[in-house]
């Protein structure tokens, strides 16, 4: 090997490569933060969503379980309780839900912390349809949702709950909802960040005012609108937190 003079000298020559590599990484990282969203979209378009899901930084669901394990519920024994300020308390089975008028949505799933999955297909029953079936009494203003994991809770105002893209979902990604995604039945609140779409939905209670749910109590914003709006649809109870 032909060793140039000075090659083995005091730890290197004059070129500050280390600093350049370090600053280059910081610069690339900053550019990635600002431009990562459109770049990710381009990659997903180029290689297709199915392949992109297997790439790091690609679109894939990040699974959140707030308790020690996923609650496993057999579809045959699933029950959804609708109670509180209603004319007719309901106890709906999965078959009952399947018999109700269904809607399909194709929407991006966006987590408040940054990850997202574009073009997710959802199928279920509008929450408004279930509320009409139970008959909401006057004076009611909000809904409290419970989960079969026994810990997660969420709430929506009645106004939010009646939006056409807020559904009680039983199909997702073209198949019955899997346990890890919150199956057999979960909430899907399309216009809001992912934590609003409570998994393993067990109960809907019609109440007077909205209470912050599990994630709001753990630091997530009470205002969950994906467009960041604090529109008229966000009532004072939510603004004050």
């Amino acid at each position: 090997m032909n060793v140039a003079p000075g090659s083995g000298n005091q730890g290197g020559g004059r070129v500050a490569v280390g600093r350049r590599v370090f600053l280059g990484m910081v610069g690339l990282g900053a550019a990635g933060v600002v431009l990562g969203a459109p770049v990710q979209e381009a990659v997903v378009r180029a290689v297709g969503s199915r392949l992109a899901a297997d790439l790091p930084g690609g679109d894939q669901f990040v699974i959140y379980s707030v308790t020690g394990e996923f609650p496993r519920i057999e579809p045959e024994s699933y029950k959804l309780d609708v109670s509180g300020m209603v004319e007719r308390p309901l106890r709906l089975s999965l078959a009952d839900l399947l018999a109700m008028p269904s809607v399909q949505l194709v929407e991006e799933f966006q987590c408040v912390t940054g990850w997202r999955v574009p073009g997710v297909r959802w199928e279920g029953v509008r929450l408004a349809t279930i509320l009409d079936a139970a008959g909401v009494r006057s004076g009611a203003g909000a809904l409290s949702f419970g989960s079969y994991d026994g810990l997660d809770t969420e709430s929506l105002t009645l106004e939010q709950a009646r939006l056409p893209d807020v559904i009680v979902a039983y199909r997702m990604l073209g198949a019955p909802i899997t346990t890890e995604h919150g199956g057999p039945v979960r909430l899907y609140v399309a216009p809001m960040f992912g934590y609003k779409s409570l998994k393993w939905l067990s109960s809907i209670e019609v109440v007077r005012v909205a209470r912050p749910g599990y994630w709001e109590q753990n630091g997530y914003p009470v205002n969950a609108w994906r467009d960041g709006s604090t529109s008229a649809a966000v009532p004072p109870a939510y603004r004050s937190g």
Partner: protein
Amino acid sequence: MADGRGVLRFDGVQRAAHWLTAILFGILIATAFPLYFASVESLVGRHVLVLRIHVAAGIALPFPVVVSLLGPWGARMRADLGRFNRWSEPELRWLRSLGTRRMPRADKFNPGQKLFAVFVGGSIAVMFGTGVVMAWFDLFPVSWRVGATVVHEVLAWLVSLAILGHIAMVATHPGSMRSMLNGRVSETWARRHCPSWLEDQLGAPGEEEFLKGRAGARRVSWRAAERSHGKPDSSTTNSRSGRSGIPNRSSP
């Protein structure tokens, strides 16, 4: 060395910084598994707790390196930082060949080790910054959160692979491992892996005091550090490259 204890490669500050950083990286990677992989999350759960541990370890991550560099105790740390920074022409040629060329003879660190150190340093900075965007997401626009998540995930893979490679190298170079445990390498090891550094260490007046850690050694260590990475001196360089015909081997 006259006392037969070998040559000091890493002082206590450097070893503490290394192992604290290693422990924090271990916690971060361990907690990243359930946060990232659904199958692990299904076994572990407790998302909020795992996330809090991950964020706390992430905030702590830069401190061992930064604190050890900045204090009056950091002379050797700073000297080695200078070694990571400055690259000779042959080292640059090795880098441009993407590692396919034979590695040039090492001083204290070979270019592979330098690149690893700089890459881990850059990774700490970028993972810290993107982690802040993800953890305090309400301070940043949603598109930044998406970008930060993408960068954080991609770099998490890369830096984990780099650390795996680092561990694999150590596993095959026990002398290197010992030097990060007790700070010292044998003269035989140093002669094989970094001959010119060894000559510097042996030839430096005052180095004996430095190695024995006597009072007042700090001032001496500063000088020794400057000497060992300072401006190239053509006369010593020539004599050195003439003398040491030992084949270079890489080590972590």
